[in-house]
Symmetry: C2
Subunit: 480 residues, 2 copies
Amino acid sequence: MPKDIITLRAKDYSQWYLDIVRNADLADYAEVVRGCIVFKPTGYAIWEAIQRGLDERIKETGHENAYFPLLIPKSFLTKEAEHVEGFAPEVAEVTRVGGVDLAEPYVIRPTSETIIGHFYAQWVHSWRDLPLLINQWANVMRWEMRTRPFLRTSEFLWQEGHTVHATEAEAEEETLKILNDVYVDFLEKEMAVPVLRGRKTEKEKFAGALRTYAIEAMMQDGRALQAGTSHNLGQNFARAFDIKFTDQNNTSQVAWTTSWGVSTRLIGALIMAHSDDEGLVLPPRLAPKQVVVVPIYKTPDERVRVLEAVDKITADWKGRIRFRVDDRDNLSPGFKYNEWELKGIPVRVEVGPRDVEKGSVALARRDVPGKAGKEFVPQEGLTERIEALLADIQTSLFTRALAFRNDHTVEVSSMGELKEAVETGFARAYWAGSREDEQKIQDDLKATIRVIPFDQPEKSGKCILTGQETGQQVVFARAY
Amino acid sequence: MPKDIITLRAKDYSQWYLDIVRNADLADYAEVVRGCIVFKPTGYAIWEAIQRGLDERIKETGHENAYFPLLIPKSFLTKEAEHVEGFAPEVAEVTRVGGVDLAEPYVIRPTSETIIGHFYAQWVHSWRDLPLLINQWANVMRWEMRTRPFLRTSEFLWQEGHTVHATEAEAEEETLKILNDVYVDFLEKEMAVPVLRGRKTEKEKFAGALRTYAIEAMMQDGRALQAGTSHNLGQNFARAFDIKFTDQNNTSQVAWTTSWGVSTRLIGALIMAHSDDEGLVLPPRLAPKQVVVVPIYKTPDERVRVLEAVDKITADWKGRIRFRVDDRDNLSPGFKYNEWELKGIPVRVEVGPRDVEKGSVALARRDVPGKAGKEFVPQEGLTERIEALLADIQTSLFTRALAFRNDHTVEVSSMGELKEAVETGFARAYWAGSREDEQKIQDDLKATIRVIPFDQPEKSGKCILTGQETGQQVVFARAY
């Protein structure tokens, strides 16, 4: 597993990313299906870990899973005017079945507000039916012009929550609860990725939403990655699909809906937040395997003794540590070290004949490459030591990512400063510009307003573009 | 929740099934998307339980999950001649994207042998790459003429395993291992559904397979339901997609592949195997909730005391029993009993003010409706008692289903006997007929050969159609 196949981050960050995806065996380009990828087992296992962590939180906050059709009658898309405008250019259409043309084409869901809205209208009758709290795990399709594995693909996997509420306040509460208790909690605790939370501007909000909230993560090149969004849809979709309920006073009311989602793009976020020039770095809580044990031996006799020791060492790991013993005979220990570094397993344990004699092992942490991250420790108490090490790696990755973001976030007070700041990271600025101003900055600097952060300054200041006094700060960045 | 909305099985089994699906809130017809259904939360939770049980077994037998594209270039389907013949009439085609016609249409996967074969050809080079053992959880689409919730829908959810091997013997071993260690084990242990295992005839095998093995379950109307299939694809797909490897003698060899799948149709099997005229009956090991506790009270004071007792009773259930306390205030206990009977929760615990005084509860088992299944027991030792009861229900359901199948399986020795037997169940018969003979029986009796069972008689006998002496018995039945 030659290391020089990975481009250095400093040289070409974008190529580095593609090299990690290919060499850690996470995905394969599906050239024959435009803009799609194959999620290979190593990559898909990360998605399974993400699903587990999110699904648990989605259920703990009172939601149930369901599954709605892949195909949506094309006419449904047009029922919400902004929505169709946003999605029509990128939908795939099914026009023929078994060789026969259909009277009305279907689109493959780019997102499911419309088809789910159609059913909710039939399920919701009374205030007693509310709130309706449902999530779906599904594939969706948006024909993208420029694609990149995990970050932007024509087909991707995601969860999409769709809820119905009796009041605007309840819908707003739901929208924020998902952002904070599900998305932020998951990304920061499990993925060790610190996120900035806030509201999207009118220009950047979801097609058809009243308000969109988002979490934004900083990648190691200083760019932002939108990691999840939660939309208060107001009554827009409820009106379009006729979702009404009879309230406690026996009056018919239009309902309030929300939707929210995160996708396989999180795999891309994970790669770009933590990995290094040696390969993938996975946070222990999310890593499908947390520890790899590499036995070292030359003779058959050594093999027996070393594997015996490995059995003894790992005897109480089951249920505590997710591990793999790499006892493949045809590969050298060095080859194995490289492979597991490349694939991001958080901790490596090496056991050789001398370790058997001395009752020791070598312990290497993936987040600190080379000799600095390796120590020789006694076999006694190893399980507890590894558990502590895994917890330490998890914390370190988060702290490192947070420090990186802080180091690459500046408050700017002029357009010149903004231009410079978005070259390397996030720029906080007072902002009172229009939607058109926002577009102009995007055209000029390739940077967009990522969010209007929840934490706002106490004092007002001057808009960096118009000079107008405003209480509102926003965060600009270039984004994936 | 009025009971008379469920048609009696004896009156109209087919309508009874639809009534269960609707009234237990398992699925909703999606009239706007032809032949599709919405998997509602109660129904989808059963699928999640099925997924967990299968995924565990699929991984324990050495397979990893991955994900391949939904869309398949239309030309791929035609690469395996029998395959395209089998699936072309029911594929949905994507011909347009963002309003622009595509040069080559895609089909939505009806199954993924072709697209996966395409990638496997690129991944497999040497004998060291084999076996390649991958599974995928996905949605697939087959435009069906006559649909029925769960049993036959245009879009359905499933797992499809696809493996590559160096020899025919290894492919055969894999095909049978999946059938026995994954499918039979799961259906019999978790779903409590006994299955008949065997090989499909040439007429009934998968389009493109060398040999297809299947498991068949008997429903309560005596019909067979094909619950899972496992195909030894021989070298058919490997040849069509050029999956080759260099063997240990450095010679290029065509590989051997298998594929195998079970789908959301299993939800239909579960319903039809165990449920009764009162509603759904779920086996405890698979039931999303195993126990519902219904507190009974009239006054606020009673409410406090009863709920306190419920807290005490259920204190040590977490992690041992999956339960729900139904403390909804606006519904009567009777209404709740009916609802949970309809929805199939295996055990109900009733706690009222007198139970609080006497330290007792009422315990009702769903598989024995009415008074016969209800007993009054002390609160002391309740957890262990319920665990034992759940285990007993699981065994009873399996035993009952097995006894039913045995009672409705006969060995027949003439066409007259066959005709009569398939009216009520399975018919075992000596068979040496041709593919055309098989078709004729299907046309005449609406019955097909479900499998050539693995357990064959020691003596030979006369083919029921041709009178020819043969060692082969087959099982005929009408099927879903």
